[in-house]
């Protein structure tokens, strides 16, 4: 095998600013605010804020929506 000189482009620090996009796939509908969901954060409070019954998912959207600091 030929040796190559690849390198890391993005290296994550585990435990820093942890965000989970797990379980936000195609099966997530309604009553969800979009990701990112802070791991272990107040997700229940977030989800309770949207009381619509419409079917949509955060994953319906892709966008370069550079959100402000929160």
């Amino acid at each position: 095998m030929r040796k190559r000189t690849g390198r890391k482009l993005l290296v994550a620090t585990l435990g820093v600013g942890a965000v989970s996009y797990v379980a936000c796939g195609g099966s997530c509908v309604a009553n969800l605010v979009p990701p990112p969901l802070d791991a272990g954060a107040d997700r229940a409070a977030d989800t309770a804020a949207d009381t619509t019954t419409d079917t949509f998912s955060p994953m319906d959207l892709v966008a370069n929506l550079v959100a402000p600091s929160q």
Binding site: T5, G6, L10, A12, T13, A18, V19, Y21, P68, Q70
Partner: protein, 268 residues
């Protein structure tokens, strides 16, 4: 499906050289000039988190562009229109690199766990090819990319440091074509579509609009009213209130109005 950690690598050697020749502007940016000395640690961590998140969102957008490109070929969209869209995945990969390098410039990426099989929602396989393309284009381009343009432009203007300013400027330049693409597609596709097809596109667009609004509700609930100058420098981000005000206006002018003008009966 098990979660994976969002990290990225470069192949290097000739592969990287070919890539660099395609997009020489990336290496021309003032990398290595962002000095975080004196910035509060909490501000730098937040900036790392936001730029890592931006890299992930750009990566998702690359997946969406590739899925859309396949659907455009399957429905035999006009060749020049497909050719226009064929540039988009590369644009998005460049944006992934730029935003990832911004995170690394600030001290490294933060932790993102994700599921590779669930990065976007594809159109239903049972739909005919033209409607499959329209479904994704309505959500990803007519809503997501279209509303992004003014937001990105404003964020670019807000950036003061040359590095985030160069990064955002590049993204703004590329996204201009992405933002108009969805409506160019509709102007061709709608010629052969039924009223039922238009209603399907409206439902898809409404799903995108609801997702955008939900995102903004989240920002509104957590918005900061005081603007931290040091944080602003590290982030190159807009202040929350300015962001939300522009967001509402942009959704109306860049998304809802052009869809309604084309007879797409959106309700959101």
């Amino acid at each position: 499906m098990a979660a994976e950690l969002f990290e990225l690598e470069l192949y290097g050697d000739n592969v990287e050289r070919r890539y660099r020749r395609m997009r020489p502007e990336v290496e021309a940016m003032p990398w290595g000039t962002f000095d975080t000395t004196g910035l509060p640690e909490v501000a730098v961590t937040m900036a790392r988190k936001q730029w890592t998140g931006a890299a992930y969102q750009e990566h998702r957008t690359a997946v969406a562009c590739a899925a859309t490109l396949r659907a455009l070929m399957e429905c035999r969209a006009p060749l020049d229109l497909i050719a226009m869209a064929s540039r988009f995945p590369l644009d998005e990969l460049v944006h992934v690199e730029l935003t990832a390098r911004m995170a690394m410039e600030l001290g490294g990426g933060t932790e993102i766990q994700f599921e590779p099989d669930h990065m976007i929602i594809d159109a239903e396989e049972s739909l005919p090819p033209l409607l499959r393309a329209a479904d994704m284009i309505a959500r990803f381009f007519c809503v997501g990319e279209a509303v992004s343009i003014p937001m990105l432009r404003a964020t670019w203007h807000a950036a003061r440091h040359p590095l985030p300013r160069a990064v955002l400027g590049r993204i703004v330049k590329d996204e201009a074509a992405h933002g108009v693409f969805g409506f160019l597609f509709l102007d061709w596709a709608l010629e052969s579509m039924t009223e039922a097809d238009r209603r399907h596109i409206a439902v898809a667009a409404d799903r995108g609009i609801m997702a955008v609004r939900a995102l903004w509700r989240g920002i509104e609930q957590r918005r900061t009213t005081g603007y931290d100058e040091s944080l602003g420098d590290a982030l190159g981000w807009l202040h929350s209130d300015a962001y939300l005000e522009l967001a509402a206006r942009s959704l109306e002018t860049q998304v809802r109005k052009p869809l309604l003008e084309r007879g797409i009966p959106i309700t959101r």
